[in-house]
Amino acid sequence: MQKMQLFLEIKNLTKEFFLGSIISRQKITAVDNVSFNIKPTEIFTLAGESGCGKTTVARMILGFEEPTSGAILYKGRRPKKGEKVWFTQGMQTIFQNPFETFNPLRKVDCYLFETVQNYKLARDNKEAQELIDRKLKSVGLSFEEVSGRYPSEFSGGQLQRISIARSLLTAPSLLIADEPVSMVDASIRMSIVNLFKNLEEELSMSVLYITHDLATAYYMSGQIAIMFRGNIMEMGPVEKVLMNPKHPYTKLLRESIPEVDPSKKWRGEIAFSNIEHEEYLREGCKFAGRCPRTMDICKREAPKAIYVDGVLVKCHLYCSD
């Protein structure tokens, strides 16, 4: 069982940014020693509030950003300089805002043909068109609907589908989806989420789903990692992490979701962070400033990762010594 091939391995990934001038330089560890694995055919969710470093992780995986330390192993090895095509062919991405993904003055099908050309996926125009049509059909559109039209003629949900179809052209084995539904209307959001579920089941693809929306994460993913200020606070199967959260931060996140049920209105108030980078610079556990169960040790020492009931937790509450 342990021999199952890991598809993407992230090992002790760290990224540091520097703020301010030479005199008042501050180091911000945006991603701090993050490790996780993505297996073939699974939806892995990376969740957390804005500014927790989840997009930085995605940018490093895609090679837009050089990690300060740590390794990203794709199919068991590190991609070399000249292997960009090989690497990106297996790994495609979908961005948050479908209206910004496409140039409003260019026809949408240009992007599709361009991808076919860049990866040399077809020998002639006819073959390219067939391939595009097939991929568009798998997201519920067709080539006739799309060809010759501009982005303004589509709704946000349709553009996001076209964006997914484009990434499917190279037959990738991993999709990195950075907040793919947060700009899409709630009424059509589920059609995109269901599409990801189908991709996983029918094309046996893996999806790295980056989001702050825990409800859709619960609905579609298998594994989940909760990030806070650059650290993974809790990681494990979604059913355990979200239905029975251990870390106080996961509990806070879980309680902050407005349930679609007027009988479950929130009671009580919660504490907020006012200044983001103060939390980044904090010694010890980054969450100590807002945690309802802070102890002395939390302010001095960063908690180690331990496993409780098959779930990775970083919290002093669970350290017995």
Partner: protein, 340 residues
């Protein structure tokens, strides 16, 4: 029944964007025959997809009509001290005086409204200066400090520049600013969109707090049904420029009548239930060419003959639950006819 006094009513409100592109006239029917009655001391929610006219409705209620938007028909009445005021009969100056003191508007993306080169307390002073006269600088700052403190925000933010605060904090400061002069009605346009869950909860907490302190009315527009379930007392569902269903929030969630509302509520994922969820089929209609009859009929699985011909009127289905749907109006017989 003093609580049930209405504070804002509209009659047959129509406001369209009239565009003239190279001689071709294009009419966008953003708000089409809307009758509202919003009461004192309640939070009224308006839900719908983007492009259904929610924001235009708020602008029309607030009196922000600028070309190409035009008020085609209908009236908006505010009730102030027992008197009805038709806002479109007022002069510009009179309307300006009503703003912020009687009605306040929190626009979409309110977090970016602040002047980036002055401290927030100066923004507060600018704001107060234009409405109150004969106060010294210190008195004004004290007022601002007291106000911020009462709403549970840290007072030190007044000495900060906008860029030093996070987006969620700025959003809350903008909302606090809107409540500064104790308006009787606050319009909030998508106040929680683009914020993450924890910050969103903070914003909702603040809006609720303001409403409890002032005992006023909030009209909240958002497409997030979770926020509506948590915050609003009454809810109107908007589709293609019209209100198609309106009831007490508990009633809407417990017993949605319109097929569109049913889809909206049932499509949302819930914790502890990974059963498959379907979203509304098809795409929202363009407001330039609204389908004939009931505007939802091309997406409605229950549509029958009359739906394609005639727009159903909003009627009371009992229990103050209003709905505009032929299926409900024609009753169960029609429902059986379609099923068979």
């Amino acid at each position: 029944m003093a609580d049930d006094m209405s504070v804002l009513t509209t009659q047959n409100l129509k406001s369209f964007y009239v565009l003239n592109i190279y001689g071709a006239k294009k009419v966008v029917k953003a708000v089409d025959k809307v009758d509202l009655e919003i009461r004192e001391n309640e939070i009224y929610g308006i839900a719908g997809e983007s492009g259904c006219g929610k924001t235009t409705l708020l602008k029309t209620l607030y009196g922000l009509i600028k070309p190409p938007l035009r008020l085609i028909d209908g009236k908006v009445f505010y009730v102030r001290d027992g008197q009805e005021i038709d806002i479109y009969s007022l002069s510009k100056e009179e309307r300006r005086k009503l703003r912020w003191e009687y009605i306040a508007y929190i626009p979409q993306g309110a977090m970016s409204v602040f002047n980036p080169v002055i401290k927030l307390k100066e923004t507060y002073r600018d704001f107060l200066d234009s409405h109150l006269t004969g106060k010294t600088k210190e008195e004004v700052f004290d007022m601002a400090r007291e106000h911020i403190n009462k709403l549970g925000l840290p007072v030190k933010i007044l000495d900060a520049y906008p860029h030093q605060l996070s987006g969620g904090m700025r959003q809350r400061v903008a909302i606090a600013l809107a409540a500064l002069l104790k308006p009787r009605i606050i319009f909030a346009d998508e106040p929680t969109t683009a914020l993450d869950v924890v910050v969103q909860r903070g914003v909702i907490q603040l809006l609720k707090g303001i409403q409890e302190i002032l005992g006023n009315t909030i009209v909240l527009v958002t497409h997030d049904m979770g926020v509506h379930a948590n915050l609003t007392d009454r809810l109107g569902i908007m589709y293609a420029g019209k209100i198609i269903e309106e009831a007490i929030t508990e009633e809407i969630f417990g017993n949605p009548l319109h097929p569109y509302t049913k889809y909206l509520i049932n499509s949302l994922p819930k914790f502890g239930d990974t059963g498959s969820r379907e979203s509304v089929p098809g795409n929202p209609p363009s407001l330039v060419s609204i389908p004939s009859g009931c505007s939802f009929h091309p997406r409605c699985p229950y549509a029958f003959a009359i739906c394609t011909e005639q727009m159903p009127e909003l009627f009371d289905a009992g229990n103050h639950h209003k709905v505009a749907c032929w299926l409900i109006k024609e009753g169960k017989d029609a429902k059986d006819a379609i099923v068979s």
